[in-house]
Structure formats: C-alpha cells, structure tokens
C-alpha cells in the first residue's frame, strides 16, 4: 500500500501530461489568449447554456470557454453574492434586500437578465388516457390540495367531457428538492387561488398539503410513470422528450392552451418592467401558456466589482457571450426543448447590457457598437 503510492502518482502525472499536452495543439501564444468564463446556478436552463457555451467555443475557435455548472438557483444567487462566479443564473429574481445589498457593496446595481423561459406542465399516468387532458387552475389547486382523490371526479370530467376517465385513486407527486420548477408551479397555483396562497404559498420548496415527493425531474417522472393514477408536474422539455402524458391548461383569458414553445414565448410577450423582475404565471397574454417564467442571468453592473472577473478582457468576452446568447444563441432553443425569449425581453436585456461598466467605462455599449460594426462588415470565414 505504502509502496504503491509513488508509482501511482507517477503514472497519474504521466497520464495528465500526455492528455493535456495532446489537447494543447495550438501554439503557446494562442493559449495565453484564451479566456475562461465561469457561471453557475439554476439546473433547468443548464442544458441550453452548456449548448450555447459549446457552440460559442466552436465559433471562437476554442478561444472562449464558458463553464456553466448547475448548482441550483439558490446556489447561483449565493455564488453570485460570494463573487466566485462571473455570472449567476436563477429561476427566482433577486429580492429587493439582495439588490440593495449589492448596490451598497459595489456601488452599482445587480442586473437580472432574462436568458430563457421555464415552462411547467401537469404530467399524469392514467391508463387509456394520453396527452391532452384539460385542467383549469382551480382544478389543479383542488387536486394538489388533496380535495380530489379519484380520477372520475365530476370536476375533472366536466372539463373533459369526451374522455372516459376511470374510477382510479389519484396520487399527487411533487418535487421534493427545491427547484425553479416548483417555484413556477406554486406561483401559478398561488395566482389562481387565494386559498393556496394563504396556506401553501410559493417558493422553490413549500409545505405540501398532500402527496409524495420525488427527487428531481427524474424522481417525479419515475414516480408518475410507475404509479397508476399519479399526477405530477415536470418541465415541458422533460415531459416532451421522455414521452410522458401531459395536460393542457386553461389560461387567464379562458383559452385552452396546449403546451408548446410558441405558447410559452407568447406568455412572456407582455408589458415588462425595466429590471424584468416580474412573475408572469397566469399570464394576461391571450394565447400564452399560463405556467411559465423567466430564468435570469445575474450580473453586476460594475463588472470590476466582481472579484471573479480579473481583467477588462474577461469582462469584455463575458459581455460578448451575453449578447450572443440572447440573440443568435437562441437558435439552439427548440432542439433542446426550450422556448425562445420574446422580443420584449431581448430588448430589455440589451438595455441592461448597455449600462455595464468596467471601472466606470461603458464597455457594454462598446461591445454592442463593435458587434453592430461586425454585422455590417462581412465577417471572417468560419466565424459564423
């Protein structure tokens, strides 16, 4: 045991040297040029952000590497405050308290920039019934309160007159881990029902009146798929890509909305405040899907105040990536099961980028100007 260690260590170093040496095929000068951008936060948008990062890395020919890890919205906010990451990501916007603290500590604001949309659908396992059961907000509240315990209950059949619902016990499955999905879901239930708002409320995890808790999307999916008569909720992408039956929801305007990327984007096409800190569950948009919300990128107005960003070049590359991700980067959305940002949100984000500073210098504006320049001049080959 004692004797084997030096040998193993040596072997390890050899492996490392070979692998990393093999990777760095570019000349040393180019390597010094490289920039690593570090971000962390919400789990739900992680696939989209990593896909954007990957694409962006190809576009910049390995010069800019964005490393995003999903450590949860709470984690994203905390690491943002601790300044261990260049940007945070969260499915809950920063509270006034945090906004004030940041303003006092850095002399600039904290920006919440919408980056993508989160949409949550009711998923269920009822034999002989596929996707498309219709739910209203009130009905979902009654089910998740534990008032409705059988599938052939009159309240369900009156919304689904053409479906033959079995006399089956109904089991509620909810997320047990704190999650943005739960936040969006309970925020919708709180918006449509005073009873829910006063008794359960909305947050990333709540005190559930009934049901069993599954850990993570796959925990809920597993419990729903393995339990006849179960109803739960999942992100739309998860339900769609894992062949789960999901329902349609009646929105505030009274329309039955089948979950789709367009309906989610439509939900956010409303009057937005300048700081975009708004929950639009139960959206007033006429054809918007009502159980949806933003995922925000968190960023300091004074980039130099963030200890994770060490120089101006890093700050600039970060802004370059931000601009790209809310514009061309959105092209990746549908492939990965995400809805695109609506125009209104992109405009607000651009407004915020315009105000980003490095030691008082408006580098956000500079980057936007340069990109405009680029888009009018033909770009070098391979760049796009």
């Amino acid at each position: 045991m004692i004797r084997m260690k030096p040998a193993l260590t040596a072997a390890l170093i050899a492996i490392l040297a070979v692998s990393c040496g093999g990777n760095g095929d570019s000349p040393g000068e180019q390597r010094r040029d490289r920039v690593d951008i570090l971000g962390a936060g919400a789990t739900f948008p992680a696939p989209l952000i990593t896909a954007m990062a990957d694409e962006y890395r190809d576009l910049t020919r390995n010069r800019v590497t964005v490393n995003y890890q999903s450590i949860g919205s709470g984690g994203g906010i905390r690491q943002f405050i601790e300044q261990t990451v260049m940007f945070g990501m969260s499915e809950a916007f920063l509270s006034d308290e945090v906004m004030n603290n940041v303003e006092q500590a850095t002399g600039g604001r904290a920006f919440n920039m919408p980056i993508t949309l989160a949409d949550v659908v009711p998923t269920y396992n009822v034999p002989g019934v596929g996707s498309g059961l219709v739910f209203s907000g009130e009905l979902l509240v009654e089910i998740f309160m534990g008032d409705i315990t059988r599938w052939n209950h009159a309240r369900i059949s009156e919304l689904n007159p053409d479906v033959d619902l079995p006399n089956l016990p109904l089991t509620v499955v909810h997320r047990s881990d704190g999650s943005g999905t739960t936040n969006v879901w309970t925020s919708y239930l709180s918006r449509v029902s005073d009873r829910w708002r006063e008794r359960v409320g909305f947050a990333t995890s709540v005190n559930w009146p009934t049901g069993i808790g599954g850990n993570g999307n796959e925990g809920v999916a597993g419990a729903v798929q393995n339990t006849t008569g179960a109803i739960g909720y999942n992100s739309f992408a998860y339900a769609l890509l894992n062949n789960m039956s999901y329902g349609s929801v009646i929105n505030a305007a009274g329309n039955i909305i089948e979950p789709s990327f367009e309906a989610t984007t439509e939900a956010a096409n409303i009057e937005l405040p300048d700081d975009t800190r708004i929950l639009f569950t139960n959206t007033p948009a006429e054809y918007g899907y009502p159980i949806a919300g933003f995922a925000w990128m968190l960023i300091y107005e004074n980039l130099d105040a963030n200890r994770a960003i060490s120089n101006r070049r890093e700050a600039k590359e970060l802004i370059n990536f931000l601009v790209w991700s809310i514009t061309e980067g959105q092209e990746l959305s549908e492939l990965l099961g995400f809805a695109r940002l609506p125009e209104a949100a992109v405009e607000k984000s651009i407004q915020m980028i315009r105000q980003l500073k490095w030691n008082g210098e408006l580098i956000g504006q500079q980057v936007l100007d340069e990109q405009d320049l680029l888009s009018s001049v033909p770009r070098p080959e391979n760049y796009l």
Binding site: G72, G74, G178, V206, N207, G214, T227
Partner: protein, 337 residues
C-alpha cells in the same frame, strides 16, 4: 496465520541486524518522541476537523437557532419555507433516528453472517470474490442506487410486498392501516431497506478483520473439546471478535445517519409528522440535500444549516452512547495493556 510467520521472519532479520549494531539511545529516544508527536498531531487534526465542522454549521445556522431557540427548533413540527417561514426539525430528527437504527438492525446479522461465511467456510477463491463484491457495494454511487430504487425496487416492493400486506391488513386488522400508511413504494420502508444494504460493507469488513485475528490456539482448544464448527465460532471466535463487530456497527450507523442521496430519492419526502411504515417520510440529510441548492431566503438556508448542526449534536450523542456501550461490553481482544 501467514502474516504471523511473516512478521516473525521480519523480526528475526531485525534482531540479527541489532545484534550487529545496536541503535544508539538518542536515536531511540528522539525517534519515539518524534513518532509520538507526529501521530498525536495527526490524531488531533481529526478532532480539529470535527470542531471546525461544528463551528461552521453553528455559524451558518445561528440566524435560525437564535430566532427559534435550539430546543424549540428541534421540537418544532412545522417546516414551511413559503408562507409562515417557520422551521422545526422534529420530523427529520424522527426520520433519521428511525431509518438509521432500523437499517442497522436489519443489516447487522446478515453482515456478520457474510463475514463468518467468508472467513470460516468459503474456499479462498470464493471468499476473495465475495469480499471484493461486498466492498463494491460501498462504491456504487448513491445516485445510481437511488435511480435504480425509483425505477426497479420501489415498484417491485409495492406490488409484491407492501400491497399484499396492506390488503391483508385491510380485511383482517383495519386498526393497523394508519401505522402501515399508503403503500406507494416510495417511503420509509423502501429507504430503510436500501440503507441497510448500503451499510453492510462496514460491519462485514471490521467483523472479518476481528475474526481473522482470533488466535489459532483459541479455535484449536475448543475443537479439541469436541465442539462442532459452529460451536467453535459461537463460543471461541465471536466473543473474541466483539470489539471489531461493535466498531463495525458504529461505523455502519454513522454511514446510515449521514446517507443522503439514495434516501432523498426513495423516502417520499414528506415534511410533516406523523410518518408511517410504508408512507413517505424524511430525514435530516435528505431535507438538507433537497433544499440546500435552491434555498433563497436566508432564514431558510440558515435553518438547513441548523439542521446540520442538530445532526452533529445527534451524531455526537449517539456516538457517546455507543462509546459507553463499547467500554462496558467489549473485552479488548488479546490486549495486555
């Protein structure tokens, strides 16, 4: 045993060397001094680590502990991170104690049986395969066991164990139903079963160690008295190995108390008492891992850390009790101190 002869050979070599040139007194004195200091410093660093752990948890949890008071915090039965922002640890405390103790009880005898089987009965090749497989249990990531539990074990247990018991109770003993709870498959019983599997390697490894160290003379003596193989084990080997078995059980209990991911995925995560056997429950680590990542409110986060602090206290109390019991019941195997 081979190792014995091995070391005596070793000793002979040393002895020959010594006869040639005895080490100087200063070398011996200084060497022993340095050795003792280094060893004690290394040992102390574990105490320091535990203290640092307690301090960090207390520090991060102090907001919640001051707001609710320590006793009210661990007696509180409401965990509401959304509306009232009230946090109490009792349901989780209860869940942790019940699942870990039950898991230890379930796994204790099979784990010892495996150790006896590999040490005394199985041929060498089979014993080494079983040994490695048992240790492999420790290496299977919790997440893998958790996902397997969600998709395979829980539905199977529901259909083949919980449901039959439940329907039997429904017709024969309806009074049992509230204790049994909803047989969904995701609950205390499933979590406990998985836990008891996960802690087997620790008890087995230390028990086997202890069994192997029982001197051959001890066995031979009882053999000579005409004891059967089992009687030798029962009367000569196991009493001698008691210290190792207890140490293994304590290590297992520690693992059971601290196990997080697999439990969180299978226990059903219900944050309010009462818990039932088949029904959903929660443990202290499960609520921490469930809510830590996404806790946004500082009081919520602080309460999770306060749970961690409480868990530290609970683990401390359990281990103090275990230490007391060890001292009371174990004869230190073969030690003439």
């Amino acid at each position: 045993m081979t190792s014995d002869s091995d070391t005596s050979n070793n000793g002979n070599k040393e002895a020959r060397e010594l006869l040639r040139r005895p080490p100087s007194a200063i070398y011996r004195w200084l060497g022993d001094r340095i050795f003792a200091v280094v060893v004690v410093v290394l040992g102390m660093s574990i105490i320091a680590l535990a203290a640092a752990m307690a301090y960090v948890l207390y520090d991060e949890g102090s907001l919640s502990l001051w707001q609710f008071g320590f006793w009210d915090f661990i007696r509180g039965t409401t965990w509401d991170p959304a509306v009232q922002l009230v946090f109490g640890a009792l349901p989780f405390l209860f869940g942790t104690v019940v699942t870990s103790v039950a898991a230890l009880l379930i796994s204790f005898f099979p784990a010892i049986a495996v150790a006896i089987f590999t040490a005394e009965y199985a041929p060498r090749w089979l014993a080494s395969i079983i040994d490695n497989l048992i240790q492999l249990i420790a290496a299977v990531p919790s997440v893998v066991i958790g996902i397997w539990g969600i998709f395979v074990l829980a539905p199977w247990m529901r259909d083949h164990v919980y449901m039959p018991i439940f329907t039997w109770a429904e017709t024969s003993y309806p009074a049992l139903l509230p204790i049994l709870g909803n047989p969904m498959g995701y609950g205390m019983a499933t979590a406990t079963i998985v836990l008891s599997l996960m802690i087997v390697p620790y008890t087995t490894a230390l028990t086997k160690d202890a069994i192997k160290s029982v001197p051959v003379e001890q066995r031979e003596a009882s053999r000579a008295l005409g004891a059967t193989k089992w009687e030798v084990i029962r009367m000569a080997v196991l009493p001698y190995a008691r210290g190792g078995i207890l140490a293994g059980a304590i290590l297992s209990l520690g693992r059971a108390i601290g196990e997080t991911m697999a439990v969180a995925m299978l226990i059903g995560n219900k944050n309010t008492l009462p818990f039932s056997i088949f029904g959903a429950g929660a443990t202290m680590p499960s609520v921490i891992v469930n809510e830590f990542r996404e806790a946004v409110e500082s009081l919520h986060l602080s309460s999770l850390m306060a749970i961690g602090f409480t868990l530290f206290i609970i683990a401390l109390v359990v281990n103090l009790a275990a230490a007391y019991m060890t001292r009371k019941f174990s004869i230190k195997g073969g030690q003439v101190v």
